[in-house]
Symmetry: C2
């Protein structure tokens, strides 16, 4: 019998961040098929040979890590599982078409509970014209694990990678940042109170926006549509799943450039600011925007020539610009202080 926990030369997962670990594990996998246009390292894999290419992306949601059954309605969870996959397709400037769901559940869940989850899946599929085409149902010993694969398509000449940002390009972000994490903070606060006193009735009035942002995110297919209508092909794009800082660093790393964003330009909703001030006098809304994650907004760069096409949009905010190779990724404060951006580690975002 082999015991498979290595004793000697053991390196803990916590010593690595998620992305360096993925890089290490997938190092040396060299594609051999001509249909593999893009492998590991972007929001989607890109597959095919013609003018229309296929996009494929996979995400995993683990109970107790990525969602808490105490405050996550199954309807919302099903919706969100599909939505975050669609967001990866949006981040490549593509159109989602099909979804496959693999779900592991324990017998703690009833058939009716799974039906509720699938009702959420169906709502999201209908909202974004996506077909459920397959998946596996497995038994779990502990919590629920959802693995989602979304397949999409894109014109070869419109696919947008993380790697195309150029010097002086404008950095744009849709919607607002930090609100999903603020929603999570509210839910966690109410959970603690409820656990201390089960008679407590949580009052979630006035937090509707941040709660919906966390529990039922909408992938920004409207932005993909907007870019098409305005005839803009971003030079690079990524969706904001791990916080603005982490995503900016991905773009800078893969485009071999630096960047400068302006704190006062970061779009932050008033509910996000309100939650921060309630939580602690030390909690700054800008921290939630930089590091909170799960906003599923689109972060992208465009050439200066496209500025006029985008300047009047209410949904797209220009927050900075790309700087030259070798420069750091920084945020400039209203006091003109420059802060170097750092990605959050493994612990926060799994």
């Amino acid at each position: 019998m082999e015991q498979l926990e290595y004793q000697e030369g053991r390196t803990e997962l916590a010593e690595f961040g998620e992305f360096p670990l993925i890089e290490r594990l997938t190092d040396g996998f060299t594609p051999c098929n001509k249909s593999t246009v893009k492998g590991v390292g972007d929001d989607c894999a890109v597959i095919g040979t013609g003018d229309k290419l296929t996009l494929v992306t996979g995400d995993m949601l683990v109970e107790g890590v990525n969602f808490d059954m105490m405050y996550t309605p199954l309807l919302h969870l099903g919706y969100k599982a599909v939505a975050i996959g669609i967001s990866d397709i949006a981040a490549m400037n593509g159109t989602p078409r099909q979804v496959l769901l693999n779900i592991a559940v324990s017998n703690r869940y009833s058939v009716e509970a799974l039906e509720e989850l699938y009702a959420g899946v169906r709502l999201c599929c209908q909202r974004y014209d996506v077909d459920l085409v397959g998946g596996d149902l497995a038994t779990s010993r502990a919590g629920m694990v959802i693995s989602v694969t979304v397949v999409g398509e894109a014109d070869a000449n419109r696919i947008t990678y993380r790697s195309g940002a150029k010097l002086h390009d404008l950095i744009c972000v849709s919607g607002d940042l930090g609100s999903a994490y603020s929603g999570l903070l509210v839910l966690e606060r109410e959970k603690v109170t409820y656990k201390a006193n089960p008679d407590f009735k949580p009052d979630l009035d006035g937090y509707d926006y941040v709660l919906e942002r966390y529990l039922k995110p909408e992938p920004r297919m409207d932005i993909v549509q907007f870019l098409r209508e305005k005839d803009i092909v971003p030079t690079s794009m990524i969706d904001v799943s791990d916080g603005l800082a982490s995503e900016l660093l991905h773009i800078c790393h893969q485009s071999q450039c630096g960047c400068e964003v302006y704190e006062e330009r970061l779009p932050i909703d008033y509910q996000t600011s309100r939650v921060c001030s309630e939580m602690s006098s030390n909690m700054l809304p800008v921290s939630n925007a930089l590091n909170g994650g799960e906003d599923y907004e689109l972060l992208f760069t465009i050439g200066q020539q496209d500025y006029e096409k985008i300047r009047d949009s209410q949904e797209v905010h220009i927050i900075g610009h790309i700087t030259e190779k070798g420069s750091p990724a920084v945020m400039v404060t209203p006091q003109n202080t420059t802060i170097e951006l750092r990605a959050q580690g493994w612990q926060q975002n799994g």
Copy 2:
């Protein structure tokens, strides 16, 4: 705070089999994209519009349910995760091209352990010319969960569904049946002995074939190649992951037909028979073949006109034929008794 375990009208998962449950959950999902050629209900989804179509399949492996870390080397586990996805592509008569892996792990695993798992993934990718193109790494609170998505391609006129079997077609199966489950039985037996006495050194000599069948299955891409060389397009096909009985019932259900297979024709390896006789005088090798599962052989039907092309193959066995609509799926014993086939339930194969 919503509590999400429903009390009223609760239906236990155990009341359903896996497949009826999937049918119930996905009922009413109607494809809306013209690129969705085949949705839920076969070994793969089929996507695309031209002569070359894309195949996509998803599988999930859960620690403690689908594999036991006590006797599953991580190298083998990584290999097997990819292999079972490739087997689904083979079952559609297609060619595998890309794989995405989503893995959830707890900090019980080290970086070196994950590297071992990925080394197995790499071996299988190299063996079958498949490119690793993406995936997610998530944190798990308990055991490891692996979700694998394999993408393949097939000529539209060669794709083989479960639904095309016709009256009088010959039923064929590759390799042998029941050996993987026999390997699992040996491993479970040694585990019990080891747990009772940790000084015990398990003796696995003489079980090499059944152990390899369980721990490191090979998808039958050689059979897909053989069919191509012989210019045979099966009328229906499925891979044997849940046991011959379950797969025959899938084909009969979806092709709206019955079937008759002959017990003495079922290919069973001598190691499989030996394990059965060691385990119990009541354990019949034919039970392992019918219900054991995880063989990852190909079960397919061909028209009578292709009989000559296949009769001399050492790797393909003709085990019976398709009977008319409304007939049951049966096995005929050497004593000429007819036994109706039943699928195993949820518990056995998760």
